[in-house]
């Protein structure tokens, strides 16, 4: 019986400017390359409820553009291309899952930093939500633990 490994084609990668996010993007390019899938780099701006969802958030949008530019550089180093996208949403987890459904990707590759806000590792609500609710395969890349 032959095992047909990792049927990954299109991949969605949430990027937020953290090293783990860019590492996840690099991993996504490597995975998508084999079948020439599209890699979507998604930057989510979380909009507080006291603002309308389509509010103009210039500094956040500028940061998003910078992160997407860097994402293109990361992909270029691997001889690959990404499609960048900025979303405004109330909650990043929901936005990522919705986008994965919309784009019908075969995998989400997500990077998380090794954060220990209360003394022990905390995955964070966004990653937790995506792990629970993404309809496709999910690859989680956790940054190396720090001493």
């Amino acid at each position: 019986m032959e095992y047909d490994s990792l049927q990954v084609q299109d991949v969605l990668v949430p990027v937020d400017g953290s090293p783990a996010g860019f590492d996840a993007l690099a991993l996504a390019c490597t995975l998508a390359k084999r079948r020439k899938g599209t890699v979507y780099a998604v930057y989510v701006i979380e909009v507080a409820r006291n603002l309308a969802l389509d509010a103009e958030l210039a500094p956040e949008a500028r940061h998003g553009e910078e992160v997407l530019t860097k994402s293109e550089d990361v992909a270029a180093e691997l001889d690959y291309k990404v499609e960048g996208e900025i979303l405004q949403a109330r909650d990043a987890g929901h936005a990522i899952v919705d986008e994965a459904i919309e784009r019908a990707v075969s995998a989400v590759v997500m990077g998380v930093d090794y954060e220990t806000p209360l003394g022990e590792f905390d995955l964070g609500n966004t990653a937790l939500y995506v792990i629970k609710h993404a309809p496709c395969q999910l690859v989680l890349l956790r940054a190396a633990a720090r001493e």
Binding site: A48, N50, L51, R90, A95
Partner: protein, 233 residues
Amino acid sequence: MYIIVIGAGKVGYYLAKELLAEGENEVLVIEKDGAKCERIAEELGDIVLRGDGCEAATMSLAGFGRADMVIAVTGDDEDNLVSCQVAKVKFNVPRTVARINNPKNEEIFRRLGIDATISATAAILAHIEQELPTHPLIPLLTLRMGLEIVGLKIPPTAAVVGKRVGELMLPQQSLIALIIDSRGSPNAPTGQTVIQAEDEVVAVTRTENEGALRAALTAPSTSEPFGAAASGQ
């Protein structure tokens, strides 16, 4: 419109669902209970905020300042009252709507500035009024200063049947405003109007005198039914 719904019980859930289905609305549901929040998030999407809808910090976070309408539908009248009052006073929300569980609370809510109240209890009572021939007093409308308008049907056994309105012993600050006879004709009664069985009486009374008014209009005459049988012989 930006509409904030407080309480994600059955009422809140279906309300949010209907408001979303109208398409034009931005809807946010505020709920304390984590499991109820999750249910909303799973089924209706990212429109839920976990927190106390009476707490100013949560309300700021929820953007009450830009809300067009706040609808408080928890199972506790006091929580609904405070949410709506704080929404009005602190956040200048143009329209506040409260669910009330005790229909008697309608007046106090209105006097404290809540724009509209909805009471399932009152709605059901009003609906079954016609269905039950000897249903007790139905509160129809709460007026100012502890007065209310009530309705009831005179049972055939009542001692007041055949008496003139002027003879009736009614509690203080109660008066009969309207009598609808069994053929459905409304009449403004005078002291000479005679009460008939099956008349529908609409009266004004004080809330605390409701019971006494009901007793005055429905109590059977003491000798019924034997007295009636005896007089027929």
